[in-house]
Amino acid sequence: MPDSVTFAELKRRSDEIYETFNQEFRRFERFSVDRFYAESVPNLIRQLQLEGYSLTAAEDALNDLTTLRTRYTGKKSDWAAAKKLIGRIADGLQRASAGQHLLFLEVSMTDRLENARLSLEKTIKVLRTARESIDVTIPGRRPQPGHLHPITLMRQRIEDIFVSLGYAVEDDREIETDFYNFDALNIPEGHPARDPQDTFYTTEGFALRSQTSTVQIHAMQRRGAPVRMIAPGRVFRRDTPDPTHNPMFFQVEGLCVDRGITMAHLKGTLAEFVHRLFGPETKTRFRPSYFPFTEPSAEVDYSCFSCGGSGCRICKHSGWIELGGSGMVHPNVLRTANVDTSEFTGFAFGLGIDRTCARIYQLDDIRLLFENDVRFLAQFR
């Protein structure tokens, strides 16, 4: 039979343990659950930081708290040993009093431990969220994209417009016979355009096409009339490179041959085109002009997209910008392509893609188009 214990002894022993617990627990007392329900997370973070809480301090505190709990409420703790002594109090009444006393102290300890744990865990969570917050202004991660050449962008826009108007996009050779480059376009032998001063010739005597109208002839021969097509592409003229000239540039030529086609349709088509390219408020102006492959011929201007026609630097204060040449297809051209001129009429037009690019992007030196400076190319989309 083990030694009996008195109530007074047990009370003194448990009070001693409780007292040391109180002393050790004092450092956790500042954790109180209440504040966590009252405050918003960002406010809480700010407050905790003001109070000097760091994430590591809170984590250490939680560890310490766990140790404390084990030390005071664990199975092998002094407290557990003390509790076992209750049964050894002989007097039933005193035993009940001792039980009550110890229970009271134990609940006081475990409640406070639990409160402190909850609040510490919450603190850690809050501080960890703060630690893991990111700077959302840092640039997103992605490969540096390349860019399409401005001439490609412009060509695609132009193609999209004309395809939607029922035109087929055609292409053909860049090195041509004199027949397709000149004769078929009603440019007779001896015409200034045929001069080697203006047109590149290969040693074999072929011409680098000086306009994509060559494609019109091929297309009419292939498709016959009626036909609606555009021909975008590279053309070559013997111009010395300067801010407004390149010996190679891009052009788009259009052709519409059908029964009953008139200049009204030419005007309507180009008006529609500039509406779509430059905006619905854009106006067009047609002036009589001369081209060997059209009769009657017209120069086409559109109202300046920048000032709307009142005059500015871009339109050289005239309010108008030159779009290109146009006209009713010359009967000689139609006949060469085996189109019956008693049945069909047609219109044709041509405009410079590079030049339109230069206008739209306000590019004052078109040589930049073929230098392929990546700082230049990256500007267009």
Binding site: G146, E159, G190, F206, D239, T240, Y290, F370, D373, V374
Partner: protein, 685 residues
């Protein structure tokens, strides 16, 4: 061309302001670029279309304005007062080459006094930017700007035997022109010669020898009609562009020769004194016939959509000098005025009516719908290709089609090595004398350009044609290719530091992404010796078993030429051929219901054993449940002999009806690995 408003007013008495004249002329196709006030006059800078030589004078412009204003050019009188004798008594004219000079008229004035011109004449010439010289020269210049007929005055005394012979120059002949330059002539140039030697370049410029001087007393006035293309050739050939050649090149009025000369002689008599001959010595062996052009009035509407009254059509055309010949009900026939070389068919007359009715009166409408629009058959795939390449970080470049000729590069197989370049007879950039056979030199130039500006990370691609000579007499080959170049680091958007340096596999990846983008079967790459690529880092590329291009690191020798101090990777592929490869149709494959089991194996093999060989050797064996291998990585360096490397592959196994057990997989996996070990002499690490 400069036009004086006051001068115009003398000719047609217009009340329009200079700005109104500007707008009206512009509307009929004579674009006025600028109006400038000069004293009490205003000067219009008129841009005359190249086919409207008849408008290169005040009368020409006045004629257009008269039709615009529904008025008439006033007929002013001029008459030679003092005449005596026939020109034939004082000079002779012989046209030896009538093909280049259909008409030549000479007239003499004797006893003139060369002196400065009167103020009114000086002022008129100065207003339109002409420099006064002396009375006779100024009068010829004045009449040129009035009538558009260039005239020339010779010092009669200085013409040997007083002869005018119009002929082609002979070999070795030369002439010192009025500008003091000695000019060598060739046998295609037309000259005016006296009995001894050339005294003027026909239609271009006079000679110094017969120039009017202060001592001149007798002058011979030339008024002629020269062949336009002959004058154009001579002027262009000698680089001598004059007021006279400008007009003859565009065609002058063969019928107006005498009237202009009469006007000139009358003014000389009036302002410089002297006695003129009674008539011109006019040599015109084959008079040019008047043309007639028919017009069906309804064609005006069917071509332009303009509805113009018959009377208005007639008014416009007759106002412009056309004469109505036949007045049938349905067809009008007009004779074409001698000054209108640009009119020969019905459409030309329609244009005359349309421009004087006003293009702004033409309505605006779309043609009725006819066809569905269609892109070029290759456009959809080219757009996809471009998008794939830009998303790989490559910028699109465009280079000139002509380049320096070089043999440093292997060409795409479609142009084999023997394909000679297409050369130009007349390059504009001296060193760019041929058509490119490869896009690479252009792109390498672009890299150099960027490096020169301190940009070291450059990835570019280009789509374009290359050219090669064909059999003699046939058009050259044109083939579309696409090429890529890359150097420097792998850039990330908005970040200062490249993620890492680029290597062969970045470029290869871009090429693969590109063909993926256009839905082609994967390309195959095989180590190959390529002229412009560094050995050991170069490959040929094939599609469907046929070679289509090459890829690799630029050879050190070429890099040195371009002064590149960092590796450059290049690739070029035959796009025409690639686009002919059929797109693979897509069919759904059922998804596996059970997970795959994978085994990674690192094989230590000779460096010469390729990943492709290993993969193929594995997949060639038809092992049940074996799905395939995927490349994991290679390792060389510490712990690995120099001649070897370790290749890690992932083997995948799967059954359709169950999750495979480890033992089951091992039973098929290890024998498979064993065959690879045996075949390639490798060992498992």
């Amino acid at each position: 061309m400069l036009i004086s408003c006051n001068w115009l007013r003398e000719l047609i008495g217009t009340k329009l302001s200079p700005e109104e004249i500007r707008d009206r002329l512009t509307n009929v196709g004579l674009a006025v670029d600028a109006v400038e006030a000069r004293g009490d006059d205003s000067v219009l800078d008129v841009e005359v279309p190249s086919n409207r030589g008849d408008c290169l004078s005040h009368i020409g412009i006045a004629r257009e304005l008269a039709v615009i204003e529904k008025s008439q050019v006033s007929s002013f009188k001029f008459q030679v007062k003092a005449t005596n004798g026939k020109t034939g008594e004082f000079a002779s004219v012989e046209i030896r080459d009538p093909d280049l000079c259909p008409r030549y008229a000479a007239r003499t004035v004797r006893g003139v006094k060369i002196a400065p011109s009167p103020d009114w004449l000086v002022k008129k010439l100065e207003t339109i930017g002409q420099r006064p010289i002396n009375n006779v020269a100024d009068i010829t210049n004045y009449v040129l700007h009035e009538f558009g007929q260039p005239l020339h005055a010779f010092d009669l005394a200085r013409l040997t035997e007083k002869k005018i012979i119009v002929r082609r120059a002979t070999k070795g002949e030369s002439i010192r022109t009025l500008d003091g330059v000695d000019r060598k002539l060739d046998e295609q140039m037309l000259v005016i010669a006296d009995a001894k030697e050339p005294v003027a370049l026909a239609g271009v410029m006079g000679g110094e020898l017969s120039e009017i001087s202060n001592l001149t007393t007798d002058v011979l006035i030339e008024s002629a009609y020269f062949d336009a293309s002959s004058v154009r050739r001579t002027a262009k050939f000698l680089g001598l562009h004059t007021e006279a050649s400008h007009r003859f090149e565009r065609g002058t009025d063969p019928a107006g020769v005498i009237a202009a000369q009469e006007r000139c002689v009358a003014l000389i008599c009036e302002l410089a004194g002297g006695v003129a001959t009674e008539d011109a010595l006019d040599v015109y062996p084959n008079p040019i016939e008047t043309k007639a052009v028919a017009l069906r009035p309804e064609r005006v509407e069917s071509i332009t959509s303009l509805q113009v009254e018959l009377d208005e059509i007639k008014r416009i055309l007759t106002g412009l000098g056309f004469e109505l010949r036949v007045k049938e009900a349905s067809v009008l026939s007009f004779t074409v005025p001698s000054w209108r070389h640009d009119v020969s068919i019905e459409e030309d007359l329609v244009e005359e009516v349309a421009r004087h009715t006003g293009y702004d009166k033409i309505e605006t409408s779309l043609p009725p719908a006819r066809h569905a629009g269609e892109y070029h058959s290759s456009e959809e795939r080219k757009r996809a290709l471009r998008l794939a390449l830009i998303s790989q970080g490559f910028g699109e470049a465009i280079n000139l089609s002509f380049t320096e000729l070089t043999d440093d590069f292997d060409l795409i197989p479609a142009l084999n090595a023997e394909t000679a370049p297409v050369t130009l007879t007349n390059p504009i950039i001296e060193e760019a004398s041929g058509m490119r056979r490869t896009l690479l030199p252009g792109l390498l130039n672009s890299i150099r350009h960027n490096l020169n500006y301190g940009i070291r990370d450059v990835s570019l691609f280009e789509l374009g044609r290359v050219f090669g000579s064909n059999e003699a007499g046939t058009l050259p080959l044109e083939h579309e290719t696409f090429a890529l170049v890359a150097t420097g680091g792998l850039l990330e958007a908005n970040r200062a530091q490249p993620a890492r340096e680029l290597d062969f596999f970045d470029l290869k990846g871009a090429v693969e992404a590109a063909v993926d983008g256009i839905n082609l079967p994967p390309l195959s790459f095989a180590a190959a010796t390529i002229k412009h690529l560094r050995p050991g880092q170069s490959a040929s590329i094939s599609a469907n078993g046929g070679r289509v291009g090459s890829i690799g690191r630029l050879a050190d020798s070429i890099s040195a030429e371009y002064k590149f101090r960092q590796p450059v990777f290049v690739a070029e592929l035959d796009l025409t051929t690639l686009l002919e490869v059929k797109v693979q149709p897509v069919f759904y494959a059922p998804l596996p219901r059970f997970p795959a089991i994978v085994r990674d194996v690192s094989l230590l093999v000779d460096r010469t054993v390729t990943v492709a060989e290993l993969s193929k050797a594995a997949t060639d064996q038809s092992v049940p449940h074996f799905v395939g291998v995927t490349f994991v990585g290679t390792y060389e360096g510490e712990g690995i002999p120099d001649s070897k490397r370790s290749v890690t592959l992932r083997f995948e196994y799967r059954a359709d009806d169950r999750t495979m057990r480890d033992e089951e997989v091992d039973a098929i996996h290890w024998p498979l690995v064993e065959t690879l070990k045996e075949r390639f002499g490798g060992e498992v690490r």
